[in-house]
Protein backbone atom coordinates (compact mmCIF):
# COMPACT_ATOMS: atom_id res chain seq x y z
CA UNK A 1 0.00 0.00 0.00
CA UNK A 2 1.15 3.51 -0.72
CA UNK A 3 1.20 6.91 0.83
CA UNK A 4 -0.71 9.79 -0.71
CA UNK A 5 -0.11 13.42 0.20
CA UNK A 6 -2.88 15.82 -0.71
CA UNK A 7 -2.42 19.57 -0.40
CA UNK A 8 -5.55 21.69 -0.64
CA UNK A 9 -5.83 25.47 -0.48
CA UNK A 10 -9.52 26.07 -1.16
CA UNK A 11 -12.19 27.16 1.24
CA UNK A 12 -14.69 24.71 2.80
CA UNK A 13 -17.51 27.08 1.95
CA UNK A 14 -17.71 28.68 -1.49
CA UNK A 15 -15.96 25.97 -3.47
CA UNK A 16 -16.33 22.21 -3.93
CA UNK A 17 -12.59 21.69 -4.24
CA UNK A 18 -12.16 20.70 -0.61
CA UNK A 19 -15.05 18.24 -0.95
CA UNK A 20 -13.16 16.62 -3.81
CA UNK A 21 -9.94 16.45 -1.78
CA UNK A 22 -11.68 14.75 1.15
CA UNK A 23 -13.54 12.32 -1.14
CA UNK A 24 -10.22 11.44 -2.76
CA UNK A 25 -8.66 10.88 0.68
CA UNK A 26 -11.62 8.71 1.72
CA UNK A 27 -11.35 6.57 -1.41
CA UNK A 28 -7.61 6.10 -0.91
CA UNK A 29 -7.99 5.14 2.77
CA UNK A 30 -10.74 2.63 1.85
CA UNK A 31 -8.28 1.01 -0.54
CA UNK A 32 -5.77 0.67 2.30
CA UNK A 33 -3.49 3.58 1.49
CA UNK A 34 -2.21 6.13 3.98
CA UNK A 35 -3.18 9.75 3.37
CA UNK A 36 -1.74 13.02 4.63
CA UNK A 37 -4.09 15.94 3.99
CA UNK A 38 -2.43 19.36 4.19
CA UNK A 39 -4.71 22.38 4.42
CA UNK A 40 -3.38 25.85 3.79
CA UNK A 41 -4.96 29.26 3.15
CA UNK A 42 -8.75 29.25 3.42
CA UNK A 43 -8.77 25.43 3.55
CA UNK A 44 -7.67 25.65 7.20
CA UNK A 45 -11.30 26.23 8.16
CA UNK A 46 -11.94 22.52 7.66
CA UNK A 47 -10.00 21.95 10.88
CA UNK A 48 -12.32 24.16 12.91
CA UNK A 49 -14.40 22.73 15.68
CA UNK A 50 -18.16 23.34 16.02
CA UNK A 51 -18.96 23.20 12.31
CA UNK A 52 -22.69 23.08 11.60
CA UNK A 53 -24.46 20.96 9.05
CA UNK A 54 -26.69 22.88 6.63
CA UNK A 55 -27.93 21.52 3.35
CA UNK A 56 -26.73 24.60 1.45
CA UNK A 57 -23.13 24.28 2.58
CA UNK A 58 -20.50 21.60 2.43
CA UNK A 59 -20.10 19.66 5.66
CA UNK A 60 -17.01 17.49 5.88
CA UNK A 61 -16.32 17.36 9.63
CA UNK A 62 -18.11 14.01 10.04
CA UNK A 63 -16.14 12.37 7.27
CA UNK A 64 -12.89 13.79 8.61
CA UNK A 65 -13.62 12.43 12.10
CA UNK A 66 -14.28 8.98 10.66
CA UNK A 67 -11.10 9.13 8.58
CA UNK A 68 -9.00 10.10 11.62
CA UNK A 69 -10.36 7.04 13.47
CA UNK A 70 -8.95 4.71 10.77
CA UNK A 71 -5.39 5.56 11.82
CA UNK A 72 -4.45 5.83 8.16
CA UNK A 73 -5.29 9.49 7.77
CA UNK A 74 -3.55 12.59 9.04
CA UNK A 75 -5.06 16.03 8.65
CA UNK A 76 -2.79 19.01 9.23
CA UNK A 77 -3.51 22.70 8.97
CA UNK A 78 -0.98 25.43 8.25
CA UNK A 79 -0.04 27.18 11.47
CA UNK A 80 0.41 30.68 10.04
CA UNK A 81 -2.70 30.46 7.83
CA UNK A 82 -4.76 29.29 10.82
CA UNK A 83 -3.45 31.90 13.24
CA UNK A 84 -4.12 34.65 10.69
CA UNK A 85 -7.74 33.47 10.71
CA UNK A 86 -7.99 33.35 14.51
CA UNK A 87 -7.79 29.55 14.60
CA UNK A 88 -5.67 28.19 17.45
CA UNK A 89 -5.26 24.65 18.78
CA UNK A 90 -8.32 25.03 21.03
CA UNK A 91 -10.40 25.95 17.97
CA UNK A 92 -9.56 22.78 16.04
CA UNK A 93 -11.23 19.39 15.99
CA UNK A 94 -9.63 16.60 17.98
CA UNK A 95 -7.03 14.84 15.88
CA UNK A 96 -6.29 17.80 13.63
CA UNK A 97 -2.58 18.67 13.62
CA UNK A 98 -1.07 22.12 13.23
CA UNK A 99 2.33 22.54 11.58
CA UNK A 100 4.33 25.03 9.55
CA UNK A 101 4.55 24.79 5.76
CA UNK A 102 7.75 22.77 5.74
CA UNK A 103 5.76 19.84 7.17
CA UNK A 104 3.80 19.62 3.92
CA UNK A 105 6.98 19.55 1.86
CA UNK A 106 8.35 16.81 4.10
CA UNK A 107 5.16 14.78 3.76
CA UNK A 108 5.41 15.11 -0.02
CA UNK A 109 9.01 13.93 0.17
CA UNK A 110 8.05 10.49 1.44
CA UNK A 111 4.79 10.18 -0.52
CA UNK A 112 4.29 7.81 -3.42
CA UNK A 113 1.98 10.35 -5.04
CA UNK A 114 1.26 14.03 -4.38
CA UNK A 115 -1.96 15.75 -5.35
CA UNK A 116 -1.57 19.48 -5.01
CA UNK A 117 -5.08 20.84 -5.40
CA UNK A 118 -5.02 24.56 -5.99
CA UNK A 119 -6.50 27.60 -4.39
CA UNK A 120 -9.47 29.83 -5.03
Amino acid sequence: MGKLTIGCFSSLVGSMTLDFAVKLAEAAVKKGHEVDLWLSGNATMLGKTRQSKFRDYSYLAGTVEELIKTGKFQITICEACAKARGIDKEDTMEGVNIHSMDWYLASAFSADRVFHIGGE
Binding site: F9, M101, A108, E120
Partner: protein, 137 residues
Protein backbone atom coordinates in the same frame (compact mmCIF):
# COMPACT_ATOMS: atom_id res chain seq x y z
CA UNK B 1 20.26 10.12 0.97
CA UNK B 2 18.06 11.75 -1.63
CA UNK B 3 17.40 15.16 -3.05
CA UNK B 4 13.91 15.67 -4.45
CA UNK B 5 13.16 18.51 -6.80
CA UNK B 6 9.91 20.45 -6.31
CA UNK B 7 8.71 22.80 -9.04
CA UNK B 8 6.51 25.62 -7.72
CA UNK B 9 4.64 26.83 -10.79
CA UNK B 10 2.79 30.12 -10.30
CA UNK B 11 0.08 31.05 -12.75
CA UNK B 12 -2.28 33.10 -10.59
CA UNK B 13 -2.39 36.89 -10.40
CA UNK B 14 -0.90 38.70 -7.41
CA UNK B 15 -3.26 40.00 -4.67
CA UNK B 16 -6.49 38.86 -6.37
CA UNK B 17 -6.25 35.80 -4.15
CA UNK B 18 -3.79 34.41 -1.63
CA UNK B 19 -2.58 31.75 -4.05
CA UNK B 20 0.67 33.19 -5.38
CA UNK B 21 1.65 34.32 -1.88
CA UNK B 22 1.14 30.76 -0.62
CA UNK B 23 3.26 29.48 -3.49
CA UNK B 24 6.16 31.66 -2.45
CA UNK B 25 5.83 30.99 1.28
CA UNK B 26 5.66 27.23 0.66
CA UNK B 27 8.69 27.41 -1.63
CA UNK B 28 10.64 29.38 0.98
CA UNK B 29 9.60 26.80 3.60
CA UNK B 30 11.80 24.33 1.73
CA UNK B 31 14.71 25.95 3.58
CA UNK B 32 13.63 24.35 6.86
CA UNK B 33 12.19 21.05 5.62
CA UNK B 34 15.39 19.21 6.65
CA UNK B 35 14.22 19.12 10.27
CA UNK B 36 11.59 16.56 9.24
CA UNK B 37 13.82 14.50 6.94
CA UNK B 38 16.55 11.89 7.40
CA UNK B 39 20.18 13.02 7.34
CA UNK B 40 21.27 13.81 3.80
CA UNK B 41 17.74 14.11 2.44
CA UNK B 42 16.60 17.48 1.19
CA UNK B 43 14.31 19.37 -1.16
CA UNK B 44 15.55 21.34 -4.16
CA UNK B 45 12.96 23.99 -5.04
CA UNK B 46 12.56 25.89 -8.27
CA UNK B 47 9.99 28.66 -8.69
CA UNK B 48 8.59 29.48 -12.12
CA UNK B 49 6.15 32.24 -13.07
CA UNK B 50 4.02 31.59 -16.13
CA UNK B 51 0.93 33.13 -17.76
CA UNK B 52 -0.67 35.89 -15.68
CA UNK B 53 1.61 34.77 -12.87
CA UNK B 54 4.46 36.82 -14.35
CA UNK B 55 2.64 39.91 -13.02
CA UNK B 56 3.69 38.83 -9.51
CA UNK B 57 7.21 39.86 -10.48
CA UNK B 58 6.52 43.55 -11.17
CA UNK B 59 8.87 46.02 -9.48
CA UNK B 60 7.94 48.74 -7.00
CA UNK B 61 4.89 47.01 -5.52
CA UNK B 62 3.17 49.09 -2.83
CA UNK B 63 1.32 46.34 -0.94
CA UNK B 64 2.86 47.29 2.38
CA UNK B 65 1.85 50.95 1.98
CA UNK B 66 -1.63 50.28 0.65
CA UNK B 67 -2.75 47.01 2.22
CA UNK B 68 -0.28 46.70 5.09
CA UNK B 69 0.89 43.31 3.85
CA UNK B 70 4.24 42.09 2.57
CA UNK B 71 4.51 42.49 -1.19
CA UNK B 72 5.05 39.59 -3.55
CA UNK B 73 8.12 41.51 -4.68
CA UNK B 74 9.55 41.17 -1.17
CA UNK B 75 8.83 37.44 -1.14
CA UNK B 76 10.60 37.03 -4.49
CA UNK B 77 13.58 38.93 -3.16
CA UNK B 78 13.64 36.74 -0.06
CA UNK B 79 13.59 33.68 -2.32
CA UNK B 80 16.59 35.01 -4.25
CA UNK B 81 18.37 35.79 -0.99
CA UNK B 82 17.88 32.15 0.01
CA UNK B 83 19.34 31.00 -3.34
CA UNK B 84 16.02 29.64 -4.62
CA UNK B 85 15.98 29.61 -8.41
CA UNK B 86 13.35 31.99 -9.78
CA UNK B 87 12.35 31.59 -13.41
CA UNK B 88 10.05 33.86 -15.41
CA UNK B 89 8.53 32.78 -18.72
CA UNK B 90 9.99 34.93 -21.49
CA UNK B 91 7.04 34.54 -23.86
CA UNK B 92 4.46 35.43 -21.20
CA UNK B 93 6.50 38.44 -20.11
CA UNK B 94 6.54 39.64 -23.72
CA UNK B 95 2.82 38.97 -24.03
CA UNK B 96 2.22 41.62 -21.35
CA UNK B 97 4.69 44.01 -22.99
CA UNK B 98 7.05 43.72 -20.04
CA UNK B 99 10.83 43.75 -20.02
CA UNK B 100 13.44 42.70 -17.49
CA UNK B 101 13.72 46.35 -16.39
CA UNK B 102 10.16 46.20 -15.07
CA UNK B 103 10.40 43.03 -12.98
CA UNK B 104 12.32 41.91 -9.91
CA UNK B 105 15.58 40.60 -11.30
CA UNK B 106 17.74 40.68 -8.17
CA UNK B 107 17.89 41.39 -4.45
CA UNK B 108 21.33 42.92 -4.33
CA UNK B 109 20.34 45.30 -1.55
CA UNK B 110 19.62 42.26 0.65
CA UNK B 111 22.86 40.55 -0.33
CA UNK B 112 21.41 37.98 -2.71
CA UNK B 113 23.95 36.45 -5.04
CA UNK B 114 21.62 34.90 -7.61
CA UNK B 115 19.27 36.65 -10.00
CA UNK B 116 15.94 35.95 -11.63
CA UNK B 117 16.21 34.03 -14.89
CA UNK B 118 13.95 35.00 -17.80
CA UNK B 119 13.73 31.82 -19.83
CA UNK B 120 11.69 30.35 -22.71
CA UNK B 121 8.68 28.28 -21.68
CA UNK B 122 10.48 25.22 -23.04
CA UNK B 123 12.99 25.48 -20.22
CA UNK B 124 10.24 25.75 -17.61
CA UNK B 125 8.66 22.68 -19.16
CA UNK B 126 11.96 20.83 -18.79
CA UNK B 127 12.13 21.88 -15.13
CA UNK B 128 8.68 20.37 -14.62
CA UNK B 129 9.70 17.21 -16.46
CA UNK B 130 12.70 16.76 -14.19
CA UNK B 131 10.83 17.57 -10.96
CA UNK B 132 9.77 14.88 -8.51
CA UNK B 133 6.73 16.94 -7.54
CA UNK B 134 4.95 19.83 -9.22
CA UNK B 135 3.10 22.30 -7.01
CA UNK B 136 0.85 24.27 -9.31
CA UNK B 137 -0.48 27.52 -7.91
Amino acid sequence: MAIKKYAFIIEKLPYKSETSRLALTHAIASQTVEIYLDDGDNVEPVIAFIGEGVLNCLKDQKALDIYGVTSLEMHIKNALLLDLRVLVCKEDLEKFGLTEDQIVMDAEELGAEITTEVVPYEQIHQEMESADHIMFF
